[in-house]
């Protein structure tokens, strides 16, 4: 729908055509690997819902735009989605690129369920239409601290990669760990996109913390895990959700994954009976699901449910629908939004690497 003329964009719903929902994700640039995982996850949900008769009797249509993990590209992408007439947004991977899109969707009256981006700042602004379904940094940090205490670590380290997600999480971890009486002995930052992390590795080897929390992505995570162990570090290598991917083990290499564990929300392969979902995904995408495929899938379903509950696509009604969700079934467990539009629990568990497949598998649900 190319709206032309003076009346401009806005989000008037065509009322009889498909219900358009938009997704911003990175398809170019350094984070571009994640865009496809998210798009496929979301598309799978859309297909399933449409096969079931759609929402309010209308089909869903997924519109995807690249945000390149960059503010400018994200803003024009968001504006394009608005212009194209979406009524809801289910995108957002990089917090830095998602932040500037918030006022655009807000002004246009478009509710957002953000599947991956999880900086606290997204909800700190208190915009009515913003919902996060990925656990926030605070929640994930809490899981990490719980685990650290559980294994009896007293001195811990944290390494981040200077991106907003990673730095936020590292900050939250440091704060909570200190509050819990742990000693955060090392706090390092690396530059992503490089190969050599011997500086960090050397520090870890000399300081020998019992546990190090890596809050960045698997590309660098695998390298750091390996280089740290080569340098002589032998504590626990705890990684955050950005690193939970089968590639981690491949990059780290054989023999470097025994002491690697991660904080993660549950994924299908950890849930009984999700094989079918994975098979469906592979049929659609041709590749196995990756990080944030499930969250994107869930985001669409959550949004669809809220619209169904609202009875129309009016902003206020959909927001009410989202706020009214009770124990909605998602991969990360039953979902109910808190007052601040985040997940109540976060649903973080501890995962470890299966030496046979290199995939992350459930190790501890932290319930005990």
């Amino acid at each position: 729908g190319c709206s032309s003329g003076l009346t401009g964009g806005g989000s008037e719903d065509a009322a009889d055509g498909p219900i358009k929902i938009g997704m911003l994700a990175p398809f170019s640039g350094s984070e571009s690997a994640f865009g496809e995982y998210m798009q496929n996850g979301a598309q799978l949900a859309v297909n399933e819902i449409n096969a079931d008769g759609g929402v309010l009797g209308r089909d869903l249509e997924l519109l995807v735009e690249d945000d390149a993990c960059d503010a400018t590209t994200a803003v024009s992408g968001a504006n394009k989605l608005v212009t194209d007439g979406i009524v809801a947004s289910v995108g957002g991977y990089c917090s830095g690129a998602t932040l500037p899109t918030l006022p655009i969707f807000d002004e246009a009256g478009i509710p957002m369920v953000i599947p991956a981006a999880n900086s606290n700042e997204l909800v700190d602004q208190g915009l009515p239409g913003v919902f996060l379904i990925n656990g926030t940094g605070d929640q994930q940090a809490e899981a990490a601290v719980t685990y650290a205490k559980q294994i009896g670590a007293t001195n811990v380290a944290v390494v981040d990669d200077a991106t907003s997600y990673s730095a936020d999480l590292a900050g939250a971890f440091t704060e909570q760990a200190t509050a819990a009486g742990l000693d955060v002995a090392v706090s390092e930052t690396i530059t992503p996109g490089e190969n050599d992390y011997s500086a960090v590795a050397t520090t870890l080897a000399t300081e020998q913390p019992a546990l190090v929390y890596w809050t960045g992505y698997y590309q660098e995570g695998g390298l750091i895990a390996r280089q740290a162990q080569d340098a002589g570090f032998d504590g626990v290598f705890l990684v955050a959700d950005g690193s939970v991917d089968a590639k981690f083990a491949e990059i780290a290499g054989e023999g470097y994954t025994e002491n690697v564990v991660g904080t993660f929300t549950q994924t299908p392969d950890m849930i009984e009976g999700a094989d079918q979902w994975i098979a469906d995904y592979e049929e659609l995408a041709g590749d196995p699901p990756g990080p944030y495929s499930t969250q994107a899938y869930d985001a669409v379903r959550v949004m669809a449910q809220a619209i169904e509950d609202a009875g129309d696509t009016e902003f206020d009604n959909v927001v009410a629908g989202l706020e009214g969700l009770k124990d909605f079934d998602t991969f990360a467990g039953p979902l109910t939004f808190t007052d601040t539009h985040t997940l109540s629990g976060g649903g973080f568990v501890i995962v470890s690497i299966d030496p046979a497949t290199g995939a992350f598998v459930l190790k501890d649900d932290l319930q005990g």
Partner: protein, 296 residues
């Protein structure tokens, strides 16, 4: 302390290998070849592709590595020559910055071309260098690191000898100074420039394979940062000067190593670049760059 120096030396060798090609190409046609880092990436992917095609994974054999190294060097060398032929040669008589832009264009093309073929995810390199280490002089050293540094040093010294001492090297420098004049000396300018691209690209390709085997992971953007770093190293050393490029690479590696130790990883590049700026302000021609006195 010793460990910091050693760490710096390892990274520095990679920078130096890539910087060498940068400096050569710059030296001869005054082109900041932004695609050079991507040749490094291509080298890694050529190695990855061949090895995967033969179904090899998780190997540690050094002879195999050398074979792959050679193969990648030849391939990237040829690709480098091809790029020069298509994208740079037609612009030899155009404003300098025009070629800079095609170089950026080539860089995009290579990066996203590889992305379309191999996908955006990082890949694990099929050959892994043995990485158990031993301690000497208070630093932890692995055998593969030593091999690495030795290979790099040998490649670099051979090259520097060629350029500084041989007839072809003299021809290269002559072209750098005045291509028309060089032609009048009977120098086949096209061939010499192609040769420079071949050598420079092959070196970058070698560095790419070595990085793949040493670090274990490769991705389509891996050349970007190292390209910048190599450029920086080449300039620190005095751009166009090959020994300078080597020295610059190692120095930059050290700077980074000490920078992150003293100021933390987040300030490392600020330290390295800050040092660079200060240094160039005081010594505007880099470490070994000749001061060119221009005649009035």
């Amino acid at each position: 302390m010793m460990q910091l120096i050693w760490n710096g030396l390892i990274v520095g060798s990679f920078y130096a290998l890539v910087a060498l090609g940068y400096s050569m190409v710059y030296g001869i046609i005054k082109l900041l070849n932004f695609a050079h880092g991507d040749i490094y990436m291509l080298g890694a992917f050529v190695g990855f592709f061949t090895l995967s095609a033969f179904g090899i994974s998780n190997e540690t054999s050094i002879p195999l590595l050398l074979v792959v190294l050679l193969l990648s060097m030849v391939t990237t060398g040829l690709i480098g020559v091809g790029i020069e032929r298509i994208a740079y040669r037609p612009l030899r008589r155009s404003p300098r910055l025009a070629v800079l832009i095609t170089a950026i264009g080539v860089s995009f093309t290579l990066e996203y071309g590889v992305r379309q073929i191999f996908g955006p995810n990082p890949e694990a390199f099929p050959i892994r260098l043995e990485s158990s280490g031993f301690d000497v002089l208070g630093m932890r050293v692995t055998a593969s690191q030593i091999v690495l540094v030795v290979i790099a040093a040998v490649l670099m010294l051979v090259l520097a000898h060629i350029v500084e001492r041989t007839r072809q090297g003299r021809a290269m420098r002559a072209i750098a100074l005045d291509p028309t004049g060089a032609q009048l000396m009977g120098v086949n300018v096209d061939r010499v420039i192609a040769m420079v691209f071949f050598i420079g690209s092959a070196l970058a390709g070698a560095a790419g394979v070595m990085a793949g085997a040493y670090y274990g992971s490769i991705d389509f953007l891996m050349g970007f940062i190292i390209g910048l770093k190599a450029f920086t190293a080449a300039v620190i050393g005095g751009i166009g000067n090959l020994y300078g490029a080597m020295l610059g690479g190692v120095l930059l590696g050290m700077l980074e190593s000490f920078g992150s130790a003293w100021f933390g990883g987040e300030w490392r590049d600020v330290f390295a670049f800050g040092f660079l700026i200060l240094f160039l302000t005081l010594k505007p021609t880099g470490l070994l760059g000749a001061r060119v006195v221009e005649r009035m």
